[in-house]
């Protein structure tokens, strides 16, 4: 089995992709060749996507959904083509189920404010996990406060997995929504979202999956997961910042009220009464980030050209390699040893603060993230205030992992902890 995996993974020349498409990775930082391991915060943009954005700005720009003129129609076609690409990419049932947002945070806020306001009442329960990003905590707290709903939290095991038994016990007929992360940005855990969704279904609860860290790294099939909502961001998957997606099942979207008013989302406006456009447009008020939307389309084309299964295999190779090397470093503890891990590895030194680790790594040209990763509850769960996180993408290679490990050994030497 393992051999078969290896041979599949070699069908794409990832080092060639890296040097051809990512000039930023040829850069030097602090006099050293850059090693970019902060992909969970934002991935780098390949030349193909940057070129597409450039062409749009130079030759194709006009406002969308409005004009009678050719340029506007061309821009609209290009912008709307992304909806079709996203639909195929995550296997949604229809383009009507693909809502453009400004990112994962915006997508979750939309569901909280629209679906939440519609469905939540006093003492209804929202179930979140302990490993959620603040973006999948705070919007629910805000809407819970307004509606009288109550938030229940699924604990995380010592290894960093969702405690499925505890989850089962939390579910009840009071549960209106379960909102869980697909891949944890703080632990790297890949959660069994299909199973989580199925269990929620038995109690008639809806499910939102925060897919920000999953979509860039593996094939995601929303119909297979069977979730009601799925949220992700363009800039973590080789696309531009300021753009994201909310997938929602049509039955929900049709029933949900718009939560922002403005142009483009209306059917007919009079001062007495306004009727709204249909989904997805009723959720998309005002002039959108058109270039970013077109850019996401180009990013999806790019990723599909390589193949998400190839990307997943390649990342697994490099992450496994890095993990084995990091485990060998004395005085380092992995933050999270989940059953299944995607591209992020977080760790702490017993004697050195994450901020010091990050500063000295940066001096060596190695970019990582340090801090609480906008997931304070899970750090608190493990008694940490900050971790260092290296997060990989398909363009990272074993040499990057070696440079990271070399850097970490130098950090130890620098602070003389041995």
């Amino acid at each position: 089995m393992k051999e078969a995996v290896q041979s599949i993974a070699t069908t794409v020349d990832f080092n060639r992709i890296r040097s051809r498409d990512f000039p930023i990775l040829e850069r030097e930082v602090n006099g050293k060749p850059l090693v970019y391991l902060d992909n969970a915060a934002s991935s780098q943009m390949p030349r193909q996507v940057a070129d597409r954005l450039d062409r749009y700005h130079r030759m194709e720009h006009a406002n969308v959904h409005r004009g009678i003129h050719t340029l506007s129609q061309e821009a609209t076609d290009a912008y709307e083509a992304t909806r079709e690409k996203v639909k195929t990419f995550i296997n949604a049932g229809s383009t009507d189920e693909i809502i453009y947002t400004t990112g994962t945070t915006d997508s979750i806020n939309l569901v909280a404010n629209s679906f939440g306001r519609l469905k939540f009442g006093k003492d209804d329960e929202i179930i979140l996990s302990q490993m959620e990003h603040h973006a999948n905590i705070v919007p629910w707290q805000m809407i819970a406060e307004q509606t009288g709903a109550v938030i229940k939290v699924i604990p995380v095991t010592d290894r960093g997995d969702i405690d499925m038994q505890a989850y089962k016990e939390l579910l009840s007929d009071k549960t209106k929504l379960v909102a869980v992360v697909h891949v944890s940005n703080a632990l790297g855990t890949v959660n069994p979202v299909r199973e989580i969704t199925e269990m929620a279904r038995q109690h008639g609860a809806a499910v939102l999956i925060d897919g920000a860290q999953a979509v860039p790294h593996q094939t995601v099939d929303v119909q297979e997961i069977d979730c009601d909502f799925y949220a992700f961001s363009a800039h973590k998957m080789c696309g531009p910042t300021g753009f994201g997606i909310l997938y929602g099942k049509k039955e929900h979207l049709d029933a949900m009220p718009p939560y922002r008013g403005g142009g483009d989302m209306i059917d007919k406006v009079t001062f007495e009464k306004t009727t709204y456009n249909i989904a997805p447009f009723k959720f998309e008020a005002g002039t959108p980030p058109i270039a970013a939307g077109i850019g996401l389309g180009a990013a999806i084309d790019y990723l599909q050209e390589i193949g998400m299964d190839q990307i997943a295999l390649r990342e697994q190779q490099v992450v496994d390699y890095a993990l084995s090397k990091i485990r060998d470093i004395n005085g380092i503890r992995l933050f999270g040893e989940p059953e299944k891990r995607a591209s992020a590895i977080a760790f702490v030194f017993d004697q050195i603060h994450a901020h010091d680790v990050g500063t000295i790594l940066d001096k060596q040209g190695v970019a990582v993230r340090t801090g609480h990763h906008c997931a304070q509850p899970i750090l608190e769960r493990f008694g940490e205030s900050a971790t260092t996180r290296a997060s990989f993408s398909f363009y990272n290679n074993e040499e990057d992992a070696d440079r990271l490990v070399e850097g970490l050994n130098y950090v130890k030497e620098f602070f003389q902890t041995d």
């Binding site: 603060h353 994450a354 901020h355 010091d356 500063t359 000295i360 801090g371 205030s385 620098f414 602070f415």
Partner: protein, 153 residues
């Protein structure tokens, strides 16, 4: 004149020059950072009872605690951090501003940071909190200034 200088404490500008001189002999970034870390290690430890949330400087990735008191019209700062490099920078700031009168603290910028090659830590968008710490020190100075004015009137 020299005689006179040696018999009074250094003013803030002299402190600044002294710090710059101290770093001038250090070569590469490693030496400078190691010196910073050593300064942190030598910083008078802040008593545990002061390491509470209300003394935390906001906006830091690492935790920085800062307290201040007024002694004979001068503001005396004490601080600590859980990260070594930040603690060293904190130690420098305490050395620079502590013992000065409120007006001096309010108007004097920590220009030495740039001269010793640590300017990246004073970028307003950097989340290590040094900027927030300087801001907090100045807020303390402003509070003590108005207190002193009230006492005088």
């Amino acid at each position: 004149m020299l005689y006179f200088l040696s018999y009074r404490t250094m003013d803030i500008h002299e402190k600044q020059e002294r710090i710059i001189k101290e770093f001038k002999v250090l070569g590469d970034w490693q030496e400078r950072y190691k010196h910073i870390i050593k300064l942190g290690q030598k910083l008078d430890p802040l008593e545990e009872k002061h390491k509470k949330d209300e003394n935390l400087v906001r906006g830091c990735q690492s935790q920085v605690w800062l307290i201040a008191e007024l002694q004979d019209g001068k503001v005396v700062f004490k601080a600590d951090s859980d990260a070594a490099i930040t603690k060293g920078l904190v130690a420098l700031m305490v050395r620079f501003y502590s013992g000065e009168d409120p007006d001096t603290i309010i108007v004097t910028k920590p220009e030495f940071i740039e001269r010793i090659g640590m300017q990246e830590h004073l970028s307003p968008t950097r989340s290590n909190g040094l900027v927030s710490m300087v801001k907090q020190m100045k807020i303390y100075a402003m509070v003590y200034k108005s207190k002193l004015q009230q006492q005088a009137s």
